[in-house]
C-alpha cells in the first residue's frame, strides 16, 4: 500500500516535471528534426523511460537536459528504423531537415519559434489555440477537447490537419523578421488571450471557470514575456494577472459576482502587485496598445477599495484611448458601462441603445442594458432585457446571476 502510494507520487512528480519541460522539449526536437510528429513521439518515449527510471534513481539534476538527450536519441533510433524500412519515403520526408538552425536575433529559445508556428495566420484560429495548448502547454488532446467541449476525435483531427498543413505547406519554424514582428506578435497574443478568456468565462454547461486554461494562458504569456521584449506582451501579462487576481471572488456558490459586489478582500494581492508593476513598466515605454490599455483599466479597478472610490474619470479616459486603437462596438459598450458611474445610467443607456443594431446577438449588451434599465426604475423593460441576456448566455454562473437579478425585479417573478 505504502509502496504503491509512493510510486504514484513519484509518477505524478515525473509528469509534473515533464509538463513543465514539454514546450521546450518539443521546440528543441522540432528544430533538430524538422518534424512535429516525430518530436511528439520521441518526447512520449522519453516520458515512459523517465517514469521507469526516475522513481528508482531519483530525478536527474537537469531534468530538461536529460529529457532532451533521451528524446533526441529515441528520435534518431526511430529515423534509423524507418530508413531501413522505407529508405526512399523517409529521405523525402527528411528534406525539410537540411537547413542549419537559423539565428533568431536577440533570443534563441526554440519555444518562441514554435509559438509563432502554432499561431501562424495560415492556420484556422481554433487550430492555433489547440496546437499551442498541445505543443507548448503539453496538454493532452483529451484535455484540450474537454476544455473546448468538442469530442476528442474532432480535436484530434483538428490538430492532425494543422500539423499536416505545417509540414506540407512549409509553415516556417522561425521568429518573423522585424518588419512583420508586431503583426505576428499580435496574432500570438490573440491566441493566448482567447485561451485565457475561454477559461475565465467558460462557454457551455460545465465549470463556470476553467482554471487549467487561465493557468496555462498565464504560464505561456510568462514564457513569451521572458523571451520577447515588447510592451504589448508585458501588457497582456499584466492584464491576465490582474484579471486572474479576482478569480476567487468572481464566482461564489456557482453564481457570478460582478465587480461592484466582489469581496475585494478575496483578491490575490500578490498578483495585483505584480500586475501593477508590469503596467507601469510597459506604459513607461510610450508605445501603448490594446492590451496595455486594458491592463491599465484593470489596474485602476484593482487599485480601488470599492466601486464608489474607483477613479471612473480615469477609466472612461482609458476607454476613449482604447476606442482610438480599436473602434469596435464591444469597446464602445464597455466604455458606456463605465460612463454610467460618471454621468449616470441615463446617459450610458443612450450610448448602449445606439449599439443595438450591431450587438443584438451579444449577451453582455443585453446584460448591460438590463442593468441600466433596472437602475432607471424601468423594471418591465429590464426584465425583458435580462431574459434576452439569459437566453444568449451558456455560462451557468452568469445565467444564475442574471436570473437572480431578474427575480429581484417586482412583477418579473416568472
Amino acid at each position: 500500500m505504502q509502496v504503491e502510494q509512493r510510486t504514484a507520487e513519484a509518477a505524478a512528480g515525473v509528469e509534473q516535471v515533464f509538463r513543465a519541460e514539454y514546450g521546450r522539449l518539443i521546440a528543441t526536437l522540432v528544430r533538430r528534426f524538422g518534424d512535429i510528429d516525430l518530436a511528439e513521439e520521441a518526447a512520449g518515449e522519453a516520458l515512459l523511460i523517465a517514469l521507469e527510471k526516475w522513481p528508482v534513481s531519483g530525478v536527474p539534476p537537469n531534468p530538461g537536459g536529460w529529457l532532451t538527450t533521451t528524446a533526441g536519441n529515441r528520435a534518431i533510433d526511430r529515423i534509423r528504423r524507418e530508413r531501413q524500412r522505407d529508405t526512399k519515403h523517409r529521405a523525402a520526408a527528411m528534406l525539410y531537415d537540411d537547413t542549419p538552425p537559423e539565428p533568431t536575433g536577440p533570443v534563441t529559445d526554440d519555444r518562441l519559434r514554435l509559438l509563432f508556428t502554432c499561431c501562424h495566420p495560415a492556420l484556422a484560429p481554433e487550430a492555433r489555440i489547440a496546437l499551442t495548448l498541445r505543443l507548448l502547454g503539453g496538454l493532452t488532446v483529451a484535455e484540450i477537447a474537454r476544455a473546448f467541449l468538442v469530442p476528442e476525435t474532432t480535436m484530434a483531427q483538428r490538430i492532425t490537419r494543422a500539423k499536416r498543413k505545417i509540414a506540407a505547406a512549409k509553415v516556417p519554424y522561425r521568429v518573423p523578421e522585424a518588419e512583420d514582428l508586431p503583426a505576428r506578435v499580435d496574432g500570438v497574443l490573440t491566441v493566448l488571450y482567447l485561451i485565457f478568456n475561454e477559461g475565465y468565462l467558460a462557454s457551455g454547461e460545465g465549470e463556470p471557470i476553467r482554471a487549467e486554461l487561465t493557468g496555462e494562458a498565464i504560464r505561456l504569456t510568462r514564457v513569451l514575456h521572458q523571451l520577447l521584449d515588447e510592451p504589448e506582451v508585458t501588457g497582456l501579462l499584466a492584464l491576465v494577472l490582474l484579471t486572474e487576481a479576482r478569480r476567487e471572488a468572481r464566482v461564489r456558490d456557482g453564481m457570478l459576482v460582478t465587480l461592484a459586489d466582489q469581496d475585494r478582500g478575496g483578491w490575490d494581492r500578490a498578483l495585483i502587485a505584480e500586475g501593477h508593476t508590469l503596467v507601469r513598466e510597459c506604459l513607461a515605454i510610450g508605445r501603448p496598445g490594446r492590451y496595455q490599455v486594458l491592463a491599465a483599466i484593470n489596474a485602476v479597478h484593482t487599485d480601488a477599495p470599492s466601486t464608489a472610490a474607483t477613479d471612473w474619470t480615469q477609466v472612461v479616459a482609458l476607454y476613449d484611448q482604447l476606442r482610438r486603437i480599436d473602434p469596435s462596438p464591444i469597446v464602445a459598450l464597455n466604455r458606456a458601462v463605465a460612463l454610467a458611474e460618471l454621468d449616470g445610467p441615463s446617459v450610458a443607456l443612450a450610448e448602449v441603445e445606439a449599439l443595438g443594431d450591431r450587438l443584438d446577438g451579444y449577451h453582455p449588451w443585453h446584460a448591460a442594458r438590463a442593468d441600466l434599465l433596472r437602475r432607471l426604475g424601468r423594471s418591465a423593460e429590464a426584465a425583458d432585457a435580462y431574459l434576452a441576456a439569459i437566453e444568449l448566455t451558456d455560462n451557468g454562473a452568469e445565467r444564475a446571476y442574471l436570473a437572480r437579478r431578474r427575480g429581484e425585479l417586482v412583477g418579473a417573478e416568472r
Binding site: K88, A91, A92, L95, H120, A122, A168, A169, K170, V171, P172, P176, D180
Partner: protein, 121 residues
Amino acid sequence: MTQYLLSVHGNEEQYAAVSEEEMQRAFADVDRFNQQLQSDGVWVFAGGLQGAETATVVDGRGESPVFTDGPYLETKEHIGGFWIIDVADLDAALVYAAAGSKACQGTVEVRPFQSEPPADA
C-alpha cells in the same frame, strides 16, 4: 525550396464590369509583378486563362473519353490565372501572393506542390 501554385479566383461577371482603364492598370501591375518574380529568381511559370465558358471537361476513365462543354464546377467563381513560384517557405509565398493579389485585383489561393521525389528514385 518549395513550389507553390498561386491561383487567382474571381467572379467573371464582376470582371466584365471592370472599366477599361482599371483593366489596363491591372495588366500593367501584373506585368510589373511578373518582372519582379523573375528578377527575384522565384518565377517558374504563369499565365492568364480564357473565360470559363471556353472550358471543356474530359473524362477518360471509361472505355472511350467523354467530352463535356463548360467548366468542371458550376459556380460563379472560377480560376482566372495563376503563377507557379519556387520559394523557401509559406511565409515567402504569402508575401508574393499578397503582392500578386494587389496587382491583379483578385483573390489568390496559395497551395504547395507535392515535393519532388528524391534524386535516386
